[in-house]
Symmetry: C2
Subunit: 509 residues, 2 copies
């Protein structure tokens, strides 16, 4: 379903227009960004975050990171680091406002900049779930399947680790994760920041698998990683190490404080955003001190907890406000940024769709550059759901369609068509209709628009139930991109040698 063709399955009279190939590969936001806070309030939040960093500081567990901060002028006391506003300002000077991310297929490349709109699959889930095999820990089979599903839909713009292959020992796991992305796909890639050796080997695999020159590798952003701070005010060893290594390798750190108001952050939206902003600024600064100009995404993923269960909440009013406020803060410092959809629901039901759709529209209101967890994420991130993934793709494709300008030339206004059809008549066979119907409308992926009797006759399936057949079909019909076979061949000896040498243990933190 790459370069998905619309109208191909439509019935009706022959059109004089060929079905159109629609592309969702490079998207720009269709709506102007909205605000939750005034410009003064945002400036005040930025100032408060700077005070947090200079007066309170944050705990940095990796000695090498503290040394880098010290070299940049920060004050170090044991493992606490206090960072003055001038250090932050200098980092924001060098952090790039535009980052091109590469892919082995040039048509899959992306530009991360203000106004761009990218979607990222639900990621980081320990479990996967589908209607046929139930809920289970992610393994090599499901990891490969999720990569194939990501590859199958253009509206997913990069690979995520939806669930990692936990049946593979952790010191060898990165081999399989990189291999599957390169063999089954041709989109921008993900690497876990789990210690210097794993990161180095993962980047070597990209270079080897795609046969890139040293210059191509050094000058291009081929991999992204997600850097989570340990809110509040802490950066652990693997994350600090990852930030440094990715910065020095010129690869992208997606900086992600996960500030849940009332739990790891102040209970107010403004307070959660101040903490998020302080932590993101600290991480951006570490990356810039490690290598000025290092590609980074500002991270906005704050929401609230459910005060009854202590669970994270998504698609709530507070999540929506946090997302829009994050967009304001990102634009305040002039950086592209990551947001996130989410769903707390434990099953692909109305709640799941409402939570995800609300948070997707929040990302639109916020003009998020990269919206993570945009498809398949459920249980607050503990499970990647195949059926939810398919339903969420429908939502993303709906939004992606809005990026196309709506034609409004004289002929589009339809005066002649209106003149042609008598009062009380219909437009089905009007010339205006006949010449356009084949590609006039978005063709649903999983939505069933047939009437009740037809739907009931087909077995009264919910959209979650229909989704099962769709992901099965996607996987059955999946064909690896042309670059996959060569990558597999190049990687085999690298992986074999690496495995023989014992792989690479992740860093303890």
């Amino acid at each position: 379903m790459t370069a998905r063709r619309r109208g191909g399955r439509k019935r009706g009279p022959a059109s004089d227009q060929p079905p159109r190939a629609e592309s969702y590969r490079q998207l720009s936001h269709p709506f102007a960004p909205q605000s939750v806070f005034s410009g003064d309030e945002i400036a005040q939040m930025h100032e408060t975050a700077l005070r947090v960093l200079s007066e309170l500081g944050l705990k940095v567990l990796l000695p090498e990171a503290r040394e880098i901060f010290a070299t940049g002028g920060a004050l170090i006391e044991e493992d606490m680091v206090r960072i003055g506003p001038e250090i932050i300002a200098a980092a924001l000077e060098t952090a790039p406002a535009r980052t091109r991310i590469r892919a082995i297929n040039p048509a899959r490349e992306q530009m991360l900049e203000d106004g761009a709109m990218l979607f990222y699959p639900g990621s980081g889930c320990p479990n996967v779930s589908d209607a046929l095999r139930g809920r289970r820990a992610g393994d090599a089979e499901s990891y490969a399947e999720t990569i194939k599903l990501h590859q199958s839909f253009d509206v997913i713009h990069a690979f995520g680790p939806s669930a990692e292959p936990q049946d593979i020992p952790v010191h060898l796991r990165h081999y399989e994760m990189l291999r599957a992305q390169m063999v089954h796909g041709d989109k921008p890639m993900f690497v876990y920041a789990r210690g210097r050796r794993q990161v180095a080997q993962s980047l070597e695999m990209i270079q080897t698998g795609f046969d890139l020159s040293d210059a191509e590798m050094r000058e291009g952003v081929w991999a992204l990683t997600v850097i989570n701070t340990n809110s509040p005010r802490q950066i652990d060893q693997p994350m600090a190490q990852g930030l440094i290594d990715f910065a020095r390798a010129g690869q992208l750190s997606v900086i992600t404080p996960f500030c849940l108001a009332g739990a790891m952050a102040p209970i107010t939206v403004a307070g959660a955003l101040v903490l998020q902003h302080a932590e993101a600024l600290a991480a951006i600064t570490l990356a810039q001190l490690a290598k000025p100009g290092a590609p980074v995404l500002y991270g906005g993923f704050s929401s609230n907890v459910d005060m009854k269960s202590g669970s994270p909440a998504f698609g709530t009013p507070e999540h929506i406000r946090c997302t829009i406020g994050s967009g304001q803060l990102a634009r305040h410092i002039g950086l592209p940024w990551r947001s996130a959809c989410g769903a707390a629901s434990n099953t692909p039901d109305m709640q799941a769709a409402q939570e995800t759709t609300n948070s997707l529209w929040a990302a639109l209101q916020a003009n998020a550059t990269l919206t993570v967890h945009a498809a398949g994420w459920q249980e607050g991130g503990l499970t990647f759901g195949y059926e939810k993934f398919i339903n969420d793709i429908e939502g993303l494709q709906t939004v992606a369609e809005l990026c196309r300008p709506e034609p409004a030339r004289a002929d589009d206004m339809g005066f002649d068509a209106i003149a042609e059809v008598a009062p009380g008549g219909h437009f089905f066979s009007a010339r205006h209709t006949m010449s356009r119907y084949a590609d006039a409308f978005y063709q649903p992926l999983v939505a069933d628009l047939s009437n009740y009797e037809t739907w009931a006759g087909k077995g009264e399936q919910t959209s979650a139930e229909r989704a099962t057949a769709i992901w099965q079909q996607q996987l059955a019909e999946f064909r690896s991109p042309p670059t996959g076979a060569a990558a597999a061949e190049r990687l085999a000896p690298y992986i074999e040698a690496g495995t023989r040498k014992g792989g690479a243990a992740p860093m303890d933190d």
Copy 2:
């Protein structure tokens, strides 16, 4: 659940703050309106609609309406009416930009004006459906139940006829419809425009039931009706009659062309909107010619059809664009307006939630004044679903919460809270949290945020399944408003006498 209290059921340490009573009764849009078309394109669409009306005209089946148009200067040829732009311009001069709609409970009154945000229940469905009793034709029992459900949630701002009581003969049905609204509720009311006698009797019932003086009745807008044009370019007899009668009685006509692109309207978004606009302008003009200053809402409810099944589609890219474009057209002519949510799904599933949530956010992008079918509408309007209603209320309450300004005073920014909590710690027991937690967050109605094991232990219920218990509880605990008993008493003799005289037959069209 009127004046719903938040935090009442929360566990945890005692708060020093009383639980807050949250009101969703009067809402203003939280976001600036967005655009699909340029200002020039919208002006061109308006001009094209004027050309449709003056050059092509529309068919008006009621002779009285043609006479009114003729008096206003329109050209009549048999049943075709051609309306010049100066007649439209004059009508737009007198159509009010603000209309206050009354309710027997003054706290339920609403102002229809630019920026106001009202939600209206799913309406006009022949069937109702719930998990206990299945799908069935609407009857007196379900009619009363739906009125009680509308009354139970503040975020529903007026009564709709979710499904009418089809077990009551049509010449007596309006008695029960008006009675149930006045006995069980205290919100703005709905009257079907089904002929002069039914309308007159319905308005008499409002006056009688609520003991209003002639002046109160004449000067206040106590009832609204929905006027559907018969797209394309036709106004039937009951609709024309209703427009005239409501205008003369000073009651509100919600003018609603239902222009499905590719079926009853041109296949382009721009073309569907031109036809919608022409029909709405014609109906507004008839109302203004019947009585200058008559309250009207401009109607924007255009979408596309599914080209495979011919069924109407909702929450699609085309529906979203039609909605936002409608808002632009309404603001172009300076009138408050009605929009609509919708769902084609035949069951309360992810598709239903996605369609409804997408169309709800479209109404937000469009700054719709009155969003109809905002809760409970499924099967493209053929069924009102109880479980979907409850889930949709969650979506509306989420949006309503966004209307509250987000505090961002110094204390809200949480610097002291951040200082109080050590790196890596948590905010659960911070002073900042303790003083705010009871009402910090929206408390879900049907969403279950508990973790997988807890949720599974409770029976793995979907949000649709949980909704069954919620509507049952709402109905079991329902208490009529204080005004209900007196209204029942006053109406009994009126209904008895009217029934004895044979009620009022609807007009044939």
